[in-house]
């Protein structure tokens, strides 16, 4: 028994060469996490709560239609449904644990990338364009399966270096305004920037119907808008940086419930 225990401990010790012995410290303690909904105005909150008038519902309907549609027009066995069945069952929890490292390709992927992996490799169709209505609808459908579930990404193992890069990006000053994400969203959330109260920048409501865009948009689009806001160079669509930052944000927002379909200013 003792030898077994010793051997197990040694295995663990070797394994933790990658994982940190203690979890990384959080600038924003878990007890203080607040969803963007908390910082939104009354009308935005009411709109999110309205199951009918919430404009994001239109994309949810689209996602559901596409899920069941045969990808090659006639053969129903090529639809998402043919492999995955009902999305709200098979996709449960998926949105809470992405971005994640794909074991086959080694790439850090978000949900959109994962959907496109299925589209290209299994359905043998061209990839869906970033922030196209089709990709947004499917991503929202997948997110809905995790409605109310807490964010829970894995930052150990192969994800660790990505998480570290994401953390570095979050804390690094960038752009012509020379601001880091942390300066606004860790240190000054709740304070007003002009008339808008700053949120914590949590990712639990994505894809989101943003009033500013007047349509649904992905987390990647929102992060690019943030870069645009501080007058930093926009990384190209699909950049690993954006996924690394998203991974860090998901870890930072651990425990927040998935809100879907969410509405924000």
């Amino acid at each position: 028994m003792k030898a077994w225990r010793l051997a197990a401990l040694m295995c663990l010790a070797l394994h933790s060469a990658w994982a940190q012995p203690t979890p990384p410290t959080r600038a924003l303690p878990l007890s203080q996490l607040q969803s963007g909904l908390y910082f939104s105005g009354k009308d935005v909150q009411a709109l999110q709560a309205d199951a009918f008038a919430n404009p994001a519902q239109l994309w949810l309907s689209l996602g559901d239609t596409l899920w069941r549609q045969a990808s090659d027009g006639n053969d129903k066995s090529t639809s998402c449904f043919s492999c995955h069945g009902e999305a709200n069952q098979s996709m449960k929890g998926v949105a809470t644990r992405y971005p994640a490292v794909d074991t086959r390709s080694g790439r850090l992927m978000n949900v959109e990338d994962r959907i496109n992996q299925c589209t290209t490799q299994h359905q043998k169709r061209p990839a869906l364009q970033p922030d196209s209505d089709a990709l947004l609808g499917l991503t929202l459908l997948v997110a809905q399966a995790s409605k109310g579930m807490p964010l829970q990404v894995n930052i150990n193992g192969t994800a660790k270096p990505h998480w570290q890069k994401g953390a570095a990006l979050f804390n690094q000053r960038q752009g012509q305004l020379n601001l880091s994400c942390a300066q606004c969203h860790d240190q000054n959330y709740g304070q007003r920037l002009y008339v808008d109260p700053l949120s914590q920048g949590q990712p639990n409501g994505y894809p989101v119907y943003r009033l500013e865009w007047q349509k649904l948009g992905s987390l990647e689009r929102r992060l690019r808008s943030c870069y645009s806001g501080i007058r930093a160079e926009l990384p190209p669509w699909g950049a690993t940086e954006m996924r690394q930052l998203a991974l860090y944000l998901m870890w930072r927002g651990e425990g927040l419930p998935v809100e879907v379909p969410a509405v924000r200013k």
């Binding site: 939104s40 105005g41 009354k42 009308d43 008339v195 009033l211 645009s228």
Partner: protein
Amino acid sequence: MESGQLQTLAQMVEPITQGAKLLQQDVTITAPVLADNGSLVPLGVQVQSPMTAQDHVTHVYLLSQRNPVTRMAVFHMGPWNGRAEINTRVRLAGTQAVVALARLSNGEFRYELMDIIVTESACVDAS
């Protein structure tokens, strides 16, 4: 874009009323005093009317004081509606007054006016 100039009430309604009787009563506007975002402002209008064949609302006009297009929407109604009430979402190009103008079956008009504050979004988004 010629928006920005604040029109007077007369400038907003006269092209529609054309001198017909106009009273500021019987119309209720439901809208936020401070809009979260000018791209989507919930706006509700209710007109007191029996909505019978003899006495009903025929049109409801939603007018903007400073948008490039003054007439935001026109709703055509009749006794079949049972209730002269509509709800929609409008765009407002800055702080301004909105006017809900109702035309009655006897040719008269009723209206109400409401000031709505619309603030500039903090991070003007290019993407």
